[in-house]
Amino acid sequence: MDLAGREVTRAAGPGPGDGGGARRGGVRGPAGRFALMAVPAAFFAVFFAYPVGAIVARGLRENGRWHLGRLPDVLGDPDIVGVLWFTLWQAAASTGLTLLLALPAAYVFARFDFPGKHLLRALVTVPFVMPTVVVGSAFLALLGRGGVLDGWWGVRLDTTVWAILLAHVFFNFAIVVRTVGGLWSQLDPRQEEAARVLGAGRLAAFRHVTLPALGPAVAAAALMVFLFTFTSFGVIQILGGPSYATLEVEIYRQTADFLDLPTAAVLSLVQLAAVASVLALHAWTVRRQETALRLVAPETTARRPRTPGERALLGGVLTVVAVLLLSPLAVLVERSFATPGGHGLGFYRALQESDGTFAVPPLEAVGNSLAYAAVATVIAVVVGGCAAAAVTRRAGPLVRGFDALLMLPLGTSAVTVGFGFLIALDSPPLDLRSSWILVPLAQALVGVPFVVRTMLPVLRAVDERLREAAAVLGASPLRAWREVDLPLVSRAVLVAAGFAFAVSLGEFGATVFIAGPDRPTLPVAVARLLGRAGETNYGQAMALSTILMAVCAAALLLLERVRKNQAGEF
C-alpha cells in the first residue's frame, strides 16, 4: 500500500458503497482544529510577524507616525532598481536553467533502472540541504581564483553571473528531481500507452497525457526554485563579489554595513510582497494538483534503458550530475586537505586552535551547530506537526490561507528576521537577546515549512476507515490513534525531523546576526574564515565546510533509508 501519496486523491473514498463514506465522521471537531492551529499561530505571531513587523516599524515609523514617503525614494534609487532587476532576472534565469538540466534527470530517475540509482538519488539531494555558505565556497574552490578551472585552463568564473547561476542549479537540482520525478515515477505508463494505441505519436502522447499530469508538479517545482533563488543570500555573498547583489544581500548591506534601517525596511517589504505573490501562485498550483491522478507503485514504472537514445540520455544526465553536482563537492573535500606542504590534515588540526578570528577554536562550532539544530528540530517538529494535523482535513479558504502562510518564512528575508529578533525580543516580557534559544527559534522558522510539507501528504493518506477497522476490533479512539496513525506517520515524522535538522544546520542569514561571537555555528564560522585573507583561513573554511557537508550527507543518507520510495515535495 502506498502511503506516500502526494496530494492526489487516490481511490481513498468510500468506494462503490452506499454513499456512506463521503461524510466521514470527523474525529476532530472545529474546536480541536483551532486548538491545534493555536500553537503554530502563536509561534509565528511571536517569532515571525512580531520581529519582522518591529523591523519595518523601526525603519518607517517615527514619533508614532508612519513615514511611507521613503517608499518612492528608495524604489526610485537607480542602484536599488538595479538590484531589483538583477534579483528578478537571475532568479528567472536560474529557474530556467535548473528546469532545463533537471527535468531530463527527473525523467531518468523516474523511468530508468540503473545500478547505483538509490545512492545517486541521495547524493543529488545532498546539495539541497547543504548550507548556502558551503555551496558558495565549493563553487569558489571550483571556479574561483586558484580554483580547479583556474589551475587547469586559467578560467575564472567567480564574480561572473555564471558562477551564481551554476551554484543555484547545484543547489536546487534536487527540488525538481524529487518533486517532478517523484510524481513521474508514479504516473501509470499505460496512460501513455493508451494514447499511443489511439493513434498518438510518442511526442503527442507525451504532450497530451503526461505533460498535463506533470504540469502542476513542474510549476510547483519551478516556483520553489524561483523562491529560493529570488531570496538567495549566502551564495551571492560569496560568489557575487561587489558587483552583484540580490534584494536579500542589499538588505544585509543596508542593515549591517550602512545601518540604513528605513531603506532595509522598504526592501524587506518589497521582498515580502514578492514572495507572498509567488506563494499565492504556488498555493494555486498545488490546489490544481489535487485533481485525481491514477498513481501506481514507482517500482513498477522503471526499467533498464533499451535503445541507444535512452542510453545516451542516461549518460548525459549522469555526466551533468557528475560535473555539476559531484565535482564541486569533491573539490571542496580535496581543498580541505591541500595544505601548503602537500595533502594532509593540517587545516583540520588548525581548527582546534583559536586565533584572532574567534574567541574559541573553530571546531567548537560543530558542537554548537549540532546542539542548536537539535533544539530547532524539536521546535520545528512540534510546531509543524500541530500545523500539519490542523490542516490535514481539506477545508475552506481559512485553512488554505493558513497553509500558505506557513510557507512564508521560507521566502522572507532571513536577515530581516535575524535583525528583527535582536530588535524586538529584547524587552520584557520577551527578553531573549542574550539567550541561546534565539538561534534555534530562528532556525526552526525555516524548518517548519519542511515539516508541514513532509507530513501533510502522509497524514492525508491515512484512511479514516483504517481507524474504523481498529474501532470495530475493540480499539478505543486513543488506542486506534496509537495503533494506526502513529506507526503510519512515524516515518514521515522522522523524515521531517531530518530535513528540519539539515536546514537548521545550514541556516545562515538569520543566525549570522544572533549567534553570539563566542558561540558561532558552522556556517557562520565558515563565512568568517572566508572573509579573512590567508591560505590557512581559506583551508580551514574548506575543512569546516567538509565537516558540515559530511554531517548533512550522513543525515540525508539516513533519511533515504527511512523514507524509501516515498514521494514528497522535497
Binding site: 468510500p14 462503490p16 456512506g20 465522521g25 474504523e468 481498529a470 470495530v472 476490533l473 480499539a475 479512539p477
Partner: protein, 356 residues
C-alpha cells in the same frame, strides 16, 4: 440476536436508511441485497456504531446499543476493501482484535495460527499484507474479523472485488465455515448470486427501505414488486388487468395460475423460461428476433412483438432462432407471477417475509 427497530440514519436531510426493521436470529446468515445507494452499507455502519442512528433502536442480544461506542460493541466487521493495516504483517492484523481484548500473547499466537489454517492460509503470519493477492487479503480480513469471536459478524461486499471463479468458490467455503462455527452473519452485497448462495434469508433494500424479505427461493420465485423483479434481472414486467385465471397485457391475453390471481390492476412478471417460442404461423404473438445472447446451455432472445414492449425469452441452444427471424410466442401460466398481489402492494405478503 440482532434486532433493528425502525432504524433511520440520516446524512443531512436525506435518510440513507429509512425506518428499517430487521431480525437476525442466532446462527442465521442474512444477506442484505440492493443496488448501490440503497443504504445497505450505511445499515452495517449504523449497527457497528460507526454512524449515528437518527431514530429507532439497535438491539444486540436484547441490549440497546445506543451510546455504546464501536469498540465496545463486540461485533465483527469485514470492510468492503478489507482495510488491512499496512504496517502490520498478516499475523499482526489477525491478532489485532485479540490484543485489544487483552488476550495473552501465547493464546493469541495459537488462535491466529488456527484461524489462518481455517481460512486456508496456514503459516502466513509473517507475510506482508501488501504482498497478498486479492483473495488472500479477503481471507486475512475474514480471519481478523473472526479472531475476537464476535457475537455477530458483518460483511460488507465480502467478495466484491474478486474474480468470478474465486468468488463462487469462496461463497461455498464461507457458508460451510459459518455453518461449522455457528456464526451469526449479516452480509451486504449488490450481487444476487452471492446473496442467494450465502444466505439463509435475503433482505432486498431500495432507497433506504426494505423492499422484500424472504428465503433466497422465496425472493427468486415471487419478487415482491416490479423493483425487486427488475433488480433480480427480469425484463418482462408489465401492468395487466387480472380477472380469474386470465390477464390482459400489452402482449394480449396471458394465462395466470388461479391461486395468484387476485382480480384487478396488477403488475405481471413473465419469466423468460415461460415465453415459448415457436414457428411464426398459428395463434401466438408474432415477434421478430432482435437480440440473441449465448449463455451456455441456453440462449436469451430479445423479441420485438407486433404490439407491446420487447420480451425476453430463454430457449434451449438447439432450438434458438437467429436474429431477424420471425417467430410466434406463447406464454406458460406456471411461469407467470402476479407481483403486487397483496392490497398494500409492498413487501409481498405472499412471500411470508419476516420482519418486513
Amino acid at each position: 440476536m440482532l434486532v433493528l427497530d425502525d432504524v433511520t440514519v440520516r446524512y443531512g436531510d436525506r435518510a440513507a436508511v429509512d425506518g428499517v426493521r430487521l431480525d437476525v436470529a442466532d446462527h442465521e446468515i442474512v444477506s442484505v441485497l440492493g443496488p448501490s445507494g440503497s443504504g445497505k452499507s450505511t445499515l452495517l455502519r449504523a449497527v457497528a456504531g460507526l454512524q449515528p442512528v437518527a431514530a429507532g433502536r439497535v438491539l444486540l442480544g436484547g441490549r440497546d446499543l445506543a451510546g455504546v461506542p464501536a469498540h465496545r460493541r463486540g461485533l465483527g466487521l469485514m470492510f468492503q476493501d478489507q482495510q488491512l493495516f499496512p504496517h502490520r504483517d498478516v499475523g499482526g492484523n489477525v491478532a489485532f482484535g485479540l490484543r485489544m481484548h487483552g488476550v495473552s500473547r501465547a493464546a493469541a499466537r495459537e488462535r491466529v495460527a488456527s484461524l489462518l489454517a481455517l481460512v486456508g492460509l496456514p503459516g502466513a503470519e509473517r507475510r506482508a499484507v501488501a504482498a497478498l493477492s486479492g483473495g488472500e487479503q479477503q481471507r486475512v480480513a475474514l480471519a481478523r474479523a473472526l479472531a475476537p469471536s464476535p457475537q455477530l459478524l458483518m460483511l460488507d461486499e465480502p467478495l466484491g472485488q474478486l474474480d468470478r471463479s474465486l468468488r463462487e468458490r469462496l461463497v461455498v467455503e464461507l457458508r460451510q465455515l459459518f455453518g461449522r462455527l455457528g456464526t451469526t452473519v449479516l452480509a451486504v452485497t449488490h450481487d444476487q448470486g452471492e446473496a442467494f448462495a450465502l444466505a439463509d434469508r435475503v433482505v432486498v433494500m431500495r432507497e433506504g427501505r426494505v423492499a422484500q424479505t424472504g428465503t433466497p427461493a422465496e425472493v427468486w420465485e415471487r419478487p415482491a414488486d416490479e423493483f425487486v423483479a427488475r433488480f433480480l434481472g427480469f425484463a418482462n414486467v408489465v401492468r395487466a388487468t387480472v380477472h380469474g385465471d386470465v390477464a390482459d397485457t400489452p402482449w394480449g391475453k396471458v394465462g395466470v395460475s388461479a391461486a395468484a390471481g387476485v382480480p384487478g390492476e396488477r403488475t405481471l412478471l413473465i419469466r423468460p423460461a415461460g415465453v415459448r417460442v415457436g414457428p411464426p404461423a398459428g395463434t401466438g404473438l408474432g415477434c421478430e428476433v432482435v437480440g440473441r445472447t449465448f449463455r451456455g446451455e441456453h440462449v436469451v432472445l430479445v423479441l420485438r412483438p407486433e404490439s407491446g414492449p420487447e420480451l425476453e425469452a430463454s430457449v434451449a441452444l438447439r432450438e434458438a432462432p437467429e436474429v431477424g427471424e420471425r417467430v410466434g410466442v406463447g406464454f406458460e401460466a406456471s411461469e407467470v407471477v402476479v407481483l403486487d398481489s397483496t392490497p398494500d402492494g409492498r413487501a409481498g405478503g405472499a412471500t411470508g417475509g419476516t420482519g418486513s
